[in-house]
Symmetry: C2
Subunit: 208 residues, 2 copies
């Protein structure tokens, strides 16, 4: 590390393949990110992200989020917070977690819950952002790493990376192009956090 940094103790929440978690893990293993993944939780029992965790000998668990379908709330939220705290987690990384997180988790990890979104927010919040961009006819798309706040995809922005939308793009080709940038942006944002270089001025993230 070129700058003094604190080891981040990361808990990952994901619902899908976990490719963003993989990019974080790759940066840790390459020595370019001062962090440890302490726990991987998924609300989907057979999600590939849990297989990845298992293959890398990372502590992991299925988090039963019933009766809720689209949010992390109630007893499931409490259980999630307890598991993260017991694992010594200080930084929560949402990596394709398909549920809205509620204020309980945000209060438990103030300014320490991060998300990545496949669009240049505030454009195209919500689901399938790359598809929204394509249908809108945007010519530049991208991704955003942000602190999570009480809104949906509204929190202070740490990093954005742009990609072109190219003639002939399908949802799949555009999504793949955005994911390449996601896998750079998420480790970069966590590195800035570990180096203590991020501060908030109103809703703006300033870089020291």
């Amino acid at each position: 590390m070129s700058t003094s940094s604190t080891v981040l103790k990361i808990g990952v929440l994901g619902s899908g393949s976990g490719s963003n978690m993989q990019s974080v893990l790759d940066a840790i293993q390459a020595g370019t990110l001062n962090a440890e993944i302490r726990l991987v939780l998924s609300d989907v029992a057979d999600a590939k992200i849990l297989d990845r965790a298992r293959n890398h000998n990372l502590p992991h668990a299925w988090l039963d989020c019933a009766p809720f379908k689209t949010k992390l709330d109630g007893q499931a939220e409490q259980r999630c917070i307890a598991l993260l705290k017991e694992s010594g987690v200080d930084t929560v990384v949402l990596a394709g977690f398909m549920r809205i997180v509620k204020p309980g988790l945000l209060r438990a990890f103030p300014q320490r819950v991060l998300n990545i979104h496949p669009a240049l927010l505030p454009a195209f919040p919500g689901l399938h952002a790359w598809q929204q961009a394509l249908e809108y006819g945007a010519k530049v798309a991208g991704c955003t790493v942000h602190f999570v706040d009480a809104g949906t995809d509204t929190g202070p922005i740490i990093i954005q990376r742009a990609v072109p939308v190219l003639p002939g793009d399908t949802a799949a080709t555009l999504h793949a192009r955005i994911q390449v940038e996601e896998h750079i942006a998420y480790p970069d944002a966590l590195r800035l956090l570990s180096e203590g270089r991020l501060s908030l001025s109103g809703r703006r993230v300033e870089l020291a």
Copy 2:
């Protein structure tokens, strides 16, 4: 020109310095854009864009838009359309024109009214878009050339170009960085139009 093209007969509407008109004029004079500026109209009697027109021997006029303050409507709209048609204009280029154009102008020049906006639409429509981006804390900003439709900054997008928001940026430094891209994007978009390479699929501009 590497591709066959039709000479665009451009009418420019502007309220300010006319730097975007200058970029179009520069491209014409450099032989990279097959177009003529037939008429320059400004709603601001002492706008610098009229000085520029005069200095380049371009036909120009002040367009009295009273009693309206924020739109081009009523008799002023009719006069504007008449002046443009008399000059043989087939393509209307909004270049820092600080009024909402209404359906009358759009019907007179269907799919031939273009605007440039200093943000990556649909993010930050409206006034002072670069300031909005800075205050929001966006890390990528840019500009958009689009066909004008009945909404405000909602029309089909022809070209977008991105710029980074850098630490220490002020509204002025960010605006200047965006303008550099505007002066590339507007001639590029008009070139695609002159080459007949733009078609609409729903609200998407497709590139042939």
